[in-house]
């Protein structure tokens, strides 16, 4: 979790993470604002703002009087959004640090291939 981000964004990103890893499957209910607030020890208004952000982006939808549910297609949408951001968020910092240490792109690609092979065996 990125501590420098506003808490309501952190709430939203945590829920997105749980949708991506399958903890909250599509068309199932997510915990309520109050449950998130108690769990994260944050003001319920902040938790509500995080959830509403996901309603605004179509990831969650409200069922009146029942609660919030993961929308159909949410996982695909989130995956697409995160894939788009992947380059800026992960590759650019990786290249920066590599350049600082004198690791050229070819060496870097080799390192990634090596690690991927090891991770694949595990």
């Amino acid at each position: 979790m990125d501590e420098s981000k506003p808490i309501f964004i952190q709430v939203a990103e945590q829920i997105e993470g749980r949708i991506l890893d399958g903890t909250y499957p599509e068309e199932t209910q997510v915990p309520s604002t109050n449950e998130f607030a108690a769990y994260m020890r944050i003001n319920p208004a902040t938790a509500g703002k995080g959830l509403n952000r996901l309603v605004d982006t179509g990831v969650l939808y409200k069922r009146r009087g029942i609660g919030m549910f993961v929308a159909t297609g949410a996982r695909a949408t989130l995956t697409a959004t995160r894939r788009e951001a992947f380059g800026d968020q992960y590759v650019i910092p990786l290249l920066h640090e590599a350049a600082r240490l004198g690791i050229d792109p070819e060496e870097l690609i080799a390192m990634i291939g090596q690690r991927a092979a090891v991770a694949g065996q595990a």
Binding site: P6, A38, M40, N43, P44, A45
Partner: protein, 314 residues
């Protein structure tokens, strides 16, 4: 406005020649948890005491639930003031405090009080005067929460409490607030711990208001800039520096206001890092301001609407 639980206008309190509250105007919305922050001597307890009808103001207005609190039984019936140094009758035990409080507060929840006494492991039969400071804080918290008063003040409710007991307090405060929304004003120096519980924050410095905003806006009303000293100095320009630290040729400064796009671009080009401030860092930086120096309220950009503020983050 009808939505305000607490409202002051030009509220001033003087002890002899000393001005403790200086022309203070503020409003706290109903059913929010609001932090009252600032250095020792900033006027936090005095403000709470006046709002709780326990002290007389010198001039100005103070209204709680729409009426002046002083000697106003109707207002005081809906108000609970929790503090560790609360005076109790001689010979009083914890059990007496709990029983007496039940008479006092219309919304008193005896079950909650019993549960809280258990959570804080308070000895019911021990005389109050034999309790430790942490236990006195726990008694104040029990009364403050179980009273379910529409307006509740907690004045440094954690004094003498260990980390476990403070965690219990924060959890129970949130839990009960969510079940029974009410207006809570809490002073604290443990800002990092409490910041996420708060919706709104008021910061006092020398009896004056230096910040009055949502927690989120507050942390966006300043930022840090760090890198080589020369590059930092160039980028700072005429901006107000709240705090500055140096290490060899490096410098890190806390600056009032929002980092605009131009500054971000310049900073990036110069290899500088732009970072956020925490609420605690911000309040600590305010404490360094000399009295009379301009406050952030004046230095920061004009207020945004909620929508614009959210857009800015995205």
């Amino acid at each position: 406005m009808m939505n305000l639980a607490i409202e002051t206008r030009s509220l001033t309190k003087k002890y002899g020649n000393t001005t403790v509250l200086d022309n203070l105007t503020l409003g706290i919305e109903k059913n929010t948890i609001c932090g009252l922050l600032g250095r020792n001597g900033a006027g936090k307890t005095t403000l709470m005491s006046i709002l709780a009808g326990q002290e007389l103001k010198t001039s100005g207005q103070a209204r709680v639930l729409g009426a002046e609190p002083f000697e106003n039984a109707q207002v005081l019936a809906g108000l609970s003031f929790a503090r560790e140094n609360q005076k109790y009758p001689e010979e009083f035990k914890v059990s007496h405090v709990v029983r007496a409080a039940a008479w006092f507060y219309a919304g008193w929840d005896a079950d909650l009080a019993r549960r809280l006494v258990g959570e804080f492991r308070l000895p019911l039969k021990t005389p109050i005067k034999k309790l430790s400071r942490g236990q006195l804080s726990a008694v104040a918290i029990v009364v403050g929460l179980a009273s379910r008063a529409p307006v509740t003040f907690f004045d440094e409710p954690y004094l003498g409490l260990d980390a476990t007991a403070r965690g219990i307090f924060y959890d129970l405060l949130l839990e009960d607030y969510m079940e029974h929304p009410r207006t809570i004003l809490m002073s604290t120096h443990l800002i990092d711990e409490a910041a996420n519980l708060l919706e709104h924050v008021v910061v006092l410095q020398d009896g004056r208001k230096v910040l009055d905003s949502s927690v989120e806006e507050a942390t966006r009303s300043a930022f840090t800039l760090s890198g080589t000293a020369t590059a930092v100095d160039t980028a700072v320009g005429g901006r107000q520096i709240l705090r500055s630290q140096a290490l060899g040729g490096l410098r890190s400064v806390t600056i009032a206001g929002n980092p605009d796009e131009r500054l971000r671009t310049e900073a990036k080009a110069a290899g500088l890092e732009v970072g956020p401030v925490t609420l605690q860092e911000l309040v600590a930086a305010f404490g360094l301001l000399e009295s009379g120096e301009s406050s952030l309220a004046a230095a920061s950009s004009p207020p945004q609407t909620q929508h614009e503020a959210e857009e800015a983050i995205r």
